[in-house]
Structures are given as structure tokens and as C-alpha cells.
């Protein structure tokens, strides 16, 4: 039943990762922004001001919560308190879906502070499936799992990242939030072909895309979310849109914030791409 609902999800168009400095701009240019992705963690223990902000956004936009600390790949299991808070948030805003990252942020009592790659092993797949089962018992809305960037290639891999993600979503019924920028970064840093990666995925499960600019640091690409989207990313977006029944795309920009018009231009370009691929009107 969970898997069947993926095919019925609505097309939401092209939106922005919500960042507070753009609050006024977002309302001023409401017609150019189809939906917003909110960082769920900012609203799990909200102050009165944050509650008001959430209420205001929810009144005017479809909101998709994007979690940071569920740590769906943690072998020690899901944090019950965090899960309950996420469930409360999802119930409050009733999104068409929500998302988290396919990785782990917590282990052995330590919080790593960044998404860390899972070993691409059968044992890790079992861990993720078990955790997703627990999540689904508490949160009804469909869950999308995002591919992360990773600096460290874990040597105990039994399969490729693409195969790992494919098996996880097939077994759990989750959808895929394909971060195209992350795919490009990993492909360059770890020397594999993004087309090969896409070839391993059940494309019908790609529901949402993330895109952002990249930066180089010490000879490697990083997902700084601090630059305009580059040509390689636009090309990859076009490829994915042509092949996968994407319902929504989010532009991510966290640092080096430009005037909002720069972001709106990127949204327009993405929207046109999606329209040409028949993903939305």
C-alpha cells in the first residue's frame, strides 16, 4: 500500500529550500515558487515565533519537511523522541511526502554532525529496512530517501551505491529524492559514470529532485550550496526529467545568498525543463 501510493503522488512543480533571509522575497514572488521545502529540524521544538512562521508558510505554500537527524541508517535504531517530533510536524502540515537522507548521523552515542555513508552491504540494507518499518508505523506520509555526498569510500562494499539505493527503496516502498548535484559530485570524486548510477535505479521511484551549485575544495567537489547551478547539473537534470516521472524539484542555496532574482531565474529554467519533459503544466 505504501509503495502503491508513490505512483499517486501529485506533481508539485519547482520550489525553493526555505531559508529565513528570503522570507519577505518568498511572499513577494509567490507566483514564481510552487512549493517550499523546510528543514524539519527547525520546527521540531519550535518557539512561538517559529510556530507562527510555520503557520504563515503553511497557509500560503505546500510545505515538504526535509529531516536532518533521523539517521535512518543507524544500526542502533531510530531515536524515538526525534521520530515522535517528526510525526507531530508531519501531522501538522500534512505534506504529500517528506524526506530524509540515506545515511547515518549518529552511532555509539556520538553525533557525527554530517550525513555519513553507509557500507553498501546486505547487513546495512536490513538496518535501513528495519528503521523504515518503524518510521512507517508512526508516520503515514510517504518517505523519500535522498542520496548523500560522501568523501569516504568504505572498503567493505558488497555492491554499488546505485544498487544499494535501488534495493532499499524496492524493499521499503520509499521513493527517491534524487539529489542530482550530489550524484554529480560523487561521480567526479569517486570516478564513476552518473548514467551508470541512474541505470541501476528504479526510475519510477524518483519523486523529487534537489539541485544546487558545486564548489571545489582541496581538489574535490563539495556540496556547499553556495553557487549558482552549473551546466553539468542542468544537463543531468534534463536527463533525469526525460526518464523519471519527477513530481517536484527543489533548488538549494544556503550560503553566499544572492538577490532573489538569481534564484527565481533558476526556478524558471527548471520549471521550463520539467514542462518540456511533460512532468507538469
Amino acid at each position: 500500500m505504501y509503495g502503491a501510493s508513490i505512483g499517486q503522488l501529485p506533481a508539485v512543480g519547482v520550489g525553493l529550500g526555505f531559508r529565513r533571509p528570503y522570507l519577505a522575497d518568498i511572499f513577494q514572488h509567490r507566483e514564481s515558487i510552487d512549493f517550499l521545502e523546510i528543514i524539519a529540524d527547525h520546527y521540531l521544538e519550535p518557539s512561538r515565533k517559529t510556530e507562527e512562521e510555520l503557520g504563515l508558510l503553511a497557509q500560503h505554500f505546500t510545505l515538504l519537511p526535509h529531516g536532518l537527524n533521523l539517521s535512518i541508517g543507524s544500526a542502533e535504531g531510530i531515536d524515538a523522541g526525534y521520530l515522535q517530533k517528526m510525526a507531530r510536524l508531519v501531522r501538522k502540515i500534512d505534506p504529500p511526502w517528506w524526506s530524509e537522507h540515506l545515511g547515518f548521523t549518529r552511532a555509539g552515542g556520538m553525533h557525527i554532525g554530517q550525513f555519513s555513508p553507509l557500507p553498501y552491504t546486505r547487513e546495512a540494507i536490513e538496518v535501513v529496512c528495519r528503521n523504515v518499518d518503524r518510521v512507517k508505523r508512526v508516520i503515514d506520509a510517504p518517505l523519500m530517501l535522498e542520496n548523500i555526498t560522501y568523501m569516504v569510500s568504505l572498503p567493505m562494499a558488497e555492491m554499488t551505491e546505485g544498487d544499494f539505493l535501488a534495493e532499499v527503496v524496492e524493499r521499503t516502498g520509499c521513493g527517491i529524492l534524487l539529489d542530482v548535484t550530489n550524484l554529480h559530485i560523487n561521480a567526479i570524486n569517486h570516478r564513476f559514470g552518473p548514467q551508470d548510477y541512474l541505470g541501476r535505479l528504479p526510475l519510477e521511484r524518483i519523486v523529487q529532485l534537489h539541485f544546487a551549485g558545486v564548489e571545489a575544495q582541496d581538489g574535490l567537489l563539495i556540496d556547499s550550496h553556495a553557487q549558482p547551478t552549473g551546466p553539468e547539473i542542468w544537463d543531468l537534470l534534463q536527463t533525469v526529467l526525460a526518464r523519471a516521472p519527477v513530481r517536484g524539484m527543489i533548488l538549494e542555496r544556503d550560503e553566499n545568498l544572492p538577490p532573489v532574482e538569481g534564484l527565481l531565474d533558476e526556478l524558471r529554467r527548471a520549471r521550463d525543463m520539467g514542462r518540456e519533459a511533460g512532468r507538469w503544466q
Binding site: G109, I112, E123, M151, L154
Partner: protein, 231 residues
């Protein structure tokens, strides 16, 4: 379960500089202390030190950027020294948890206070400014009801000066600050009282001031400076 042990190991490797150095110089010895088999250690020994160090550094930079945003005036005051001191703080064992960045900001303020005793922090008043900003970070938690902070300098003047981009005039004085909210989620109020103490001329263009209590109230600021008649 092997993966649970592996993940705990990796978490240590990514976040603990000393552990990382030890592992890459003697993987078997360190792996053994983690309860790993020789095969498991052999597998992990194939980890690229370059990749792991790059990731570890990126984690540190992320925490640094987050704390700079939470302690912006301290970051301005310390300049390049902020990142050097922050990485030193991380090497000494840093905060954890979901609200790690907030905890980092608070713990970094404490760390600077400890360092100040060894004169490693310049300018000296940045320590008090860090403590003041860290107190504001603590009070940003809606469930926190009160916070008391003691400063050696007139931190209000420091904050205002730095916020306006000028070298702040400041006085050495015992400043007691109290933040409070009556109910969870309510707006925070603050009261600062500077007790008079003249050490010498401080700040740019300041004459020594002998004054009475200076009241700073969060929200509508009320300042009363009582000047004593000259002798």
C-alpha cells in the same frame, strides 16, 4: 552486530582527531580496543586516510561556520583567531547531540574563559563577549527560563560598537546580566547591571569613568549613568 560496531568506530574516527591519528598509525591496536576482529580491522585499514581527514576537516569547518553565525560579534572580535581557537576547542573534545551547534557555541564560550587564564585569547574582552553571546544562545531555547552571566567588561558597549563596525569603547567593570522568561516560549527579557570599578583608561578616546550602576534592559533600553563629583 558488526555494522553497529563499525558505525560506532567510524563515528569516532570522523570526530576524534586523536583517535584518528592513533588508528592510522596502528590500525590493529586501535581496532582491538574497539572489540573488532582482525578481519574487520584489516577491512577498515583500507580506508583512505586522505578521505577520512578531508571528511573530518569538513565536519569541523561546518561546525565552525555554524558557531560563527551564533557568536557573530565574537567572531569579528577575534578575527582569524576565532577559527584557530575553535579548532583547538574541537581537538579537546567537543559537544554532541542534535543541537550540537548551539552546544558548541555555549561550550566554546566556556573554553575561551578557561584559555583566558593563560592569556591565549586576544583581545581579552572577547572572552566576556563570547560568554555574553553564548548566554543569548542558551536563552534562545524556548524551554530555558533564566540565565545569569558575569562579565569583566561593559559587554553592551562592546556589542553595540562591534555591531556598528567600530572599535568599541569599553570599560572594565563587573557587569551582571540576567536573562529571563516567565513561561516557555515567551520573549526573553534582560537586565544588565554594571558595578562601578575603575582600572584605568580603556578603549579609544575614553577618559576614566567612575560611575554608578548602569542599567541595560532588554527591549526598551534604560541607561542611567551616575557620575560622582570630581575630587
Amino acid at each position: 552486530m558488526a555494522i553497529e560496531r563499525t558505525q560506532a568506530f567510524l563515528a569516532c574516527l570522523y570526530t576524534d582527531g586523536y583517535f584518528r591519528r592513533c588508528f592510522f598509525s596502528d590500525p590493529q591496536a586501535v581496532g582491538k580496543t574497539f572489540g573488532m576482529s582482525e578481519d574487520e580491522v584489516r577491512g577498515l585499514a583500507d580506508l583512505s586516510a586522505r578521505q577520512v581527514n578531508f571528511f573530518a576537516r569538513s565536519l569541523q569547518r561546518k561546525r565552525l561556520r555554524a558557531v560563527q553565525k551564533l557568536l557573530p560579534l565574537t567572531s569579528v572580535a577575534l578575527g582569524e583567531g576565532f577559527s584557530r581557537l575553535f579548532f583547538q576547542y574541537l581537538d579537546n573534545g567537543a559537544a554532541g547531540g542534535i543541537n550540537k551547534h548551539y552546544q558548541d557555541a555555549i561550550c566554546f564560550g566556556t573554553f575561551l574563559r578557561q584559555l583566558a587564564r593563560t592569556d591565549e585569547v586576544d583581545p581579552d574582552w572577547s572572552v566576556d563577549l563570547a560568554g555574553y553571546e553564548a548566554a543569548e544562545v542558551e536563552m534562545s531555547s524556548p524551554s530555558r527560563h533564566w540565565k545569569f552571566c558575569r562579565s569583566r567588561y561593559t559587554v553592551d558597549a562592546l556589542s553595540e560598537g562591534l555591531a556598528s563596525g567600530t572599535l568599541p569603547p569599553h570599560t572594565r567593570a563587573l557587569v551582571l546580566s540576567l536573562w529571563w522568561r516567565l513561561r516557555s516560549g515567551e520573549r526573553v527579557r534582560r537586565l544588565s547591571v554594571a558595578l562601578p570599578r575603575v582600572i584605568g583608561k580603556t578603549g579609544v578616546g575614553d577618559d576614566p569613568v567612575e560611575g554608578g550602576p548602569v542599567l541595560g534592559v532588554g527591549g526598551a533600553e534604560i541607561r542611567r549613568e551616575l557620575r560622582l563629583p570630581s575630587k
